[in-house]
Symmetry: C2
């Protein structure tokens, strides 16, 4: 806790100190329950009178920010929840402050949410078992350049240069509807498809329109942290769906949910594919309990091992499944293009929300992508990736069996990663740090769990970006680190 | 009202009819107070028994959707507000319905908000006095293609192809900070700048983080409808700031606001520039009342007439101004790139929200745009546009003085449009329809007002896309239509 006070300021020292403490409590620097320095220590450190500190502390107790305890001084009120207390700040705390106290104005603090982190410079490491980042050297740049050139012809540009306001590029909608969705068993009309700024934006739009304070939403646990965070920031009352070898498990709790978020094609992050029986059971439950299923069909194009299983949306008789797909995943993540397939009434309202939120995804990228799909480059690229992924997956599977036996489970799907369970004492956050020093990028698994502290021994190894000939060396090195731990 | 019932369905006719009526009421097809067809008429039209209709109507009265009136039948409950009633639907309405009743799940209905509309095919009209759409034939396509080619080099692509998650392209941030902002008198550090998916997305992000139910937000009236709609959908309690010749007026009501949304460089839509005295007064008020000012500096680059006046943000001593800029406006609207300049603590939280909402604007467009600015193409393009706009504005000013005298006021700024006040009996919605038939695109002014019905005689004429040599003919034709009205 580094505070300073400005003795030349027109604002009194007492006010300065109070403002800073309130900000630290509200922004979570001082967590609920934390003990504050004694009045003697703080007054000494800041070179201000002890009476000033005592007065500030007592005022903060009065305002509910602190609690006092006989003998042991002051602590941050344990009932104070920083992420939601923005509105509880009493007016007078803000008086006499020169600049705005931003922390007191924040309605939510998404910055405090837990999430997956990866080094931004992962490309500089020798063994990047990073997840979700395709190898840029595999992308067919000449094809993309060619499509981009076509999209920038004077004639095409007349089409897409103006503000389309609520419309999507009809060419891209058509390509998605006729080329991508049928592979997933989905046949949708144009007004049942909405282009989004990535699958993430799709989930955010859906949550904005359908999920509010207290809405019961079931999420897989472990599961996709971004989805959980999006639902949570909209006020959802989350309910955990555990996992077994057939995918998400239906529990009594799941029955009480209004919405269920599922990754049936291959579960994120464990890569388990949901069995057909389980899918049918979820659909039947949804119908019985008037539930809506949000199906995130991420990476569905990387099913190079198993027989293709259609999306749950394909079996959706009653329009209860909201399907989310991604183009960023199969092209390049920086592109930020995704789509929603759902009932046209829902699409219509989501489109109106998207108008307010960002109008539409950039028109030039929509057009270039539609040409990339129409001219077959997308298909060719996916086939190429899958050939490489299959090779890498086999080598990696062998290496894991040899160097880290029993830590991973086989998947029937393919995908781009392995999910590993280390020995129960392993702390993969620590391991990730050590690995980085050895040039190895791995992803700690804890952020995928609702109770991260209990699950620090899980981790994920991606193989979309590690060169095939470095896999063995990387896994071997990593195994050495785990065993020496 | 076109209803049909499916007599083969497993769902009873009564249930089908009830579901459809509820949906129509909730989605606003049947507005509060509307009379319903008599039970005799509806049963005849649908070929169902009159008892069925009576039972359905009576059940809907019980559920609060309808009210009955002696002799005059049934009306939609006037207390039923479709945009907010999503949550008020009682559980039992949803029983026994096969598909989900989406309308009952919608938390908001942005589709019902009033907004500016323009024909999407405006480029096909001979006299497109459309606003906010630059002439695609003026855009320096070869320069953009060249930058795009550079951004797609293998080396550059390694930079931007991966998912940047929360980061913006540092090159673009640098160009905005060193080339665009200084022209507006703003000197910002990199962590005080956030790239958004257009200025619209900037406003949405700001509202998401700072504005909630009951937050008092002052908006100019007339003013930018999208901003008003964004604040409103977040629950803001809006307060109108009237306009005079010095810009937005400070009223007693404005003093009670926590946030003020302003367009000081030239007011949207009237094009009045705010006087320096008025700016200083707003800043002083903000400091005194701990207000935050949201400054939309749209089209600031089109100030080709007056002496450049810095943005209000440039005078902001206390970090109370949130500045919103647009690149889509000065490049092409389909690009969807904008930016926010604000206190770094706010930027940090907005960045976290943006991560949830859409991660970041597409990396390829960020890089291409940064090259376009860095290599001077942006500047050259703006200078070219301003030369053409100046010429068009002079001709247009002369034509308006000749054919539609007294309807527009002169602006000291330049910009891309004229704001006109027609005779009080004029209905510009009707006029716009007639004009379209004569090949003229104009924009009715009513949606800019909080009380649109009282302001149907205002309209806007843009000149960014109409060829210079068609201005006189277009204005003359339009004047003929107004006079013959």
């Amino acid at each position: 806790m580094i505070f300073s006070v400005d003795k030349q300021s027109a604002v009194s020292i007492q006010e300065q100190l109070r403002t800073k403490l309130v900000a630290a409590i509200l922004n979570g620097q001082l967590m609920p329950g934390t003990s504050l320095p004694s009045t003697r220590k703080l007054s000494g450190d800041l070179e201000v009178s002890r009476t000033t500190v005592v007065l500030v502390y007592e005022r903060l107790v009065e305002d509910g920010f602190l609690v006092s305890q006989d003998r042991s001084g002051f602590r941050v009120n344990p009932d104070n929840h920083p992420a939601h207390s923005g509105e509880a700040v009493s007016e007078n705390v803000l008086e006499n402050v020169a600049g705005p106290v931003w922390e007191a104005r924040f309605r939510k603090q998404p910055g405090l949410q837990r999430n997956i982190s990866k080094p931004l410079n992962w490309q500089e490491y020798r063994f990047p078992f990073v997840y979700g980042q395709p190898d840029p050297s595999l992308f067919p740049l000449p094809a993309w350049r060619e499509c981009s050139r076509q999209a920038m012809s004077e004639l095409a540009m007349r089409d897409w240069s103006s503000d389309a306001i609520v419309q999507d590029d009809p060419y891209l909608v058509q390509e998605i509807g006729t080329k991508l969705l049928p592979k997933r068993g989905i046949f949708a009309a144009e007004d049942e498809i909405l282009i989004t700024s990535g699958a993430q934006n799709a989930l955010y739009l859906i949550a904005t329109q359908l999920i509010g304070a207290g809405t019961r939403v079931g999420v897989e646990d472990p599961g996709y942290p971004d989805a959980r965070n999006i639902f949570e920031i909209h006020g959802a009352d989350l309910c955990s769906l555990p996992l077994d070898s057939e995918g998400a498990v239906m529990t009594g709790e799941a029955e009480t949910c209004q919405y269920l978020f599922l990754t049936p094609s291959h579960h994120s992050p464990t890569t388990v594919s949901m069995s057909e029986e389980r899918r049918a059971a979820f659909l039947a439950l949804a119908s019985r309990r008037d539930q809506i299923l949000i199906e995130d069909d991420y990476e569905s194009e990387t099913n190079y091992l198993g027989t293709p299983v259609p999306a749950m949306k394909a079996e959706d008789q009653e329009g209860r499944v909201i399907y989310v797909g991604s183009l960023s995943k199969s092209m390049f993540p920086g592109l930020r293009l995704g789509y929603i397939v759902a009932d046209r009434r829902l699409i219509q309202e989501l489109r109106a929300f998207r108008r307010l939120m960002l109008r539409h995804a950039p028109s030039n990228n929509q057009r270039t992508t539609s040409l990339f799909i129409a001219q077959g480059y997308h298909d060719t690229y996916i086939r190429k990736l899958n050939r490489i992924y299959k090779e890498r997956r086999e080598i990696m599977g062998d290496c894991l069996a040899r160097y880290l036996p029993g830590m991973s489970r086989d998947s029937s799907f393919g995908g781009t990663s392995f999910w590993l369970q280390g020995p129960s004492g392993l702390d993969t956050e620590e391991l990730a740090g050590q690995a980085l020093e050895a040039g190895i990028v791995i992803e700690p698994g804890a952020p995928h769990f609702r109770e991260p502290e209990k699950n620090r021994h899980f981790f994920r190894l991606g193989f979309s970006s590690i060169p095939t000939d470095r896999i063995e060396e990387g896994v071997k090195l990593l195994a050495g680190l785990i065993q020496s731990d």
